[in-house]
Amino acid sequence: MTTSISTRRLSRLAYSGLWSLPLPLWLAGFFLGPMILLIWLSFWDVRNFLLTPDFQLENWQKMLSANYFWAAYLRTTLIAISAAILASLVALPCALAISFFLGLKARMVVLGLFVVPFFTSYLVRIYSWQIYLTENGIIMKTLAAVGIDSGSLLNTPLALMVGLVTLTLPLVIVIQSISMLSLDKTLIDAAYNLGCGPRRVLFATVLPAVRPGIVLGALFAFIFSFGDFVTATYLGGGKFTTLSILIADTVKSGQQWPRAAVVSLVMIATLLVSALGAISYAYRRA
């Protein structure tokens, strides 16, 4: 009897242990390890194009005092914030329609369609946009035909926004929709019941109630845009040096992996702070 109980307890322990093992393994192997490596790397030296383990602050001093670094930092932040706002604004009416105007079946279909973009490579989608946005693309040709001649749309801030919204919009719509669908509809009835007309209900009730979803959607858009390399390269033409492009350039020119690590760590710190800030704002009361 006692043996059977202890073996049962043992097997239960083994079972739960087996299932919970991957988490710490993953965290250690793919997050903590690389993170420590990255931090360590940022203090290394490069001699004659060779990485040399060292502990010197020169990489940090050099990058953090460089104007081009801060310019890229500011540019990247502004681009990412703009993309997050734009994606959120475009997503909002879509999510509202999905959550409040579509029937159950139509809703499933539409939400399903917003997942389809994830099936095609982001790179392919950005290349497609290139074709549309070039001087000989269909958009410029049409505009030229009606007498508006503005050259190529490529390598403009607009092209950057198009690319980043292409990347982030489906996700933002899905996040916003989920938060609207989980909204207790009684709250809307209660608002009506207290004299809140249909024109005010959106701003007085629906949007405040789904604020966590809107903020989290924007946060994800910001995170993806902040670290994006593809759009900045292929639609911005490298004209807008973002932090990702800066990392690539730093690595390519003179094997400056340690300096790239510095940029990388600053990016990680920025995203961490923005994520914490956004989440605490999302769940704060008005």
Binding site: L187, A191, N193, L194, C196, G197, P198, T205, A286
Partner: protein
């Protein structure tokens, strides 16, 4: 517990201009009908709700009581019929134009607003200036004993406190009618009883009309001036709690309220000329006043309340006797509910004092005689 004594001072009860009648129908439902596809939720229902009265609408789930309340609030369209307030038809008024605030079963407090902002919501929607809004909200919060909680989030309150916030949010706009949709069902029994007392006092002091939907007997009977019992979209009976308790109008009401035994009988005239009731369980005498409108051969239900039936081990002692078998017993404090069943399958409920029960020495499965005084039977024509 905070008292509500200063409420009448804060909000004088509005007189009813031009009201010369003793009873004034504040809200009238005229031939209200509501269908969902083929199913009828509310079936050609008429109901007058008097000004300043506490009316409780109760019935089993699916009886249409919630639909009725939702139609009053404007949350559901009326398929046909009229809803009148002070004689004015309000069918076509939108929800936000009705001024009939509701206390929701889920309370539906706004989680993104503080307690004070929740209470201010209705005033804000009515365009009341921010300073006045604040004063009135804080005023109501203190009336309901929530002074220190104005800047808290609603999720930081206890169940009873949230209940009060929901009440304050409705009452701050000084409505003439308050709708309540099973508001106490989420509270534990003790808190619920306490809130019942407070709600009743609040209603009396404010003098406004409360329309209260519930499935709980104790809530309806302890608070309401008028109880309406609904079944399958119709009103089975509307009246004072006492009236319904003593004189259930239909077998459904008697069954729904529980605690009564129902004997299906037929009226028969004895050779001596008086009417008696004859059924599968025996022949019963009844008070002359109950028999007045009965004709020979008419089918009736004879209702006897549990506290009016006594049990004896042997037969032959009383006028209306039924032999039955003991099916079970439930102890409710100092009382015992004894469940009996006759040979024909009629269920009988008897309420006894604990000590009488012990004296009888009753065993489950044993035979027993139940009896009652002819004056205590209540007849319903079926």
């Amino acid at each position: 517990m905070n008292t509500l004594t200063d409420i009448t001072a804060a909000r004088p009860v509005a007189p009813n201009p031009g009201d010369h009648h003793m009873s004034h129908a504040h809200i009238s439902l005229k031939n209200i009908h509501k269908t969902y596809g083929d199913s009828v939720a509310v079936d050609r229902l008429d109901l007058d709700i008097e000004e300043g009265k506490f009316i409780a609408i109760m019935g089993p789930s699916g009886c249409g009581k919630s639909t009725l309340l939702r139609m009053l609030a404007g949350l559901e369209d009326v398929t046909s019929g009229d809803i009148l307030r002070e004689g004015q038809r309000i069918n076509d008024l939108a929800i936000w134009e009705r001024d009939m605030p509701m206390v929701w079963q889920s309370l539906a407090l706004f989680p993104f607003l503080t307690v004070r902002e929740n209470v201010e919501f209705g005033l804000r929607m009515n365009g009341v200036a921010s300073a006045e809004r604040r004063t009135r909200a804080l005023d109501w919060l203190s009336k309901l004993g929530l002074e220190g909680y104005a800047n808290r989030g609603v999720d930081q309150l206890s169940g009873g406190q949230r209940q009060r916030v929901a009440l304050a949010r409705c009452l701050v706009t000084e409505p003439s009618v308050l709708l309540l949709d099973e508001p106490l069902s989420a509270l534990d029994a003790h808190l619920s009883v306490q809130m019942q007392g407070e709600l009743k006092r609040l209603q009396r002091e404010l003098g406004i009309t409360f329309v209260y939907v519930t499935h709980s007997h104790s809530e309806a009977f302890s608070m309401a001036d008028t109880v309406v019992i609904m079944n399958q979209g119709r009103i089975e009976q509307a009246g004072s709690p006492e009236d319904i308790y003593l004189r259930p109008a239909t077998p459904f009401v008697a069954r729904f309220l529980g605690g009564s035994s129902i004997f299906d009988c037929k009226a028969r005239r004895r050779k001596s000329g008086e009417l008696v009731l004859e059924g599968a369980d025996g022949t019963f005498d009844c008070a002359a006043s109950e028999l007045v409108e009965l004709d020979e051969g008419e089918k009736v239900s004879l209702i006897v309340r549990a506290d009016q039936i006594s049990v004896t081990a042997a037969a032959g002692w009383a006028e209306n006797e039924v032999s039955a078998r003991v099916m079970g017993e439930e102890f409710v404090g100092a009382l015992v509910n004894l469940r009996l069943e006759t040979a024909s399958g009629t269920q009988i409920t008897v309420q006894l004092q604990q000590r009488d029960m012990q004296a009888l020495d009753i065993e489950v499965g044993a035979g027993i005689t139940a009896s009652w005084h002819p004056e205590d039977g209540h007849i319903i024509k079926t």
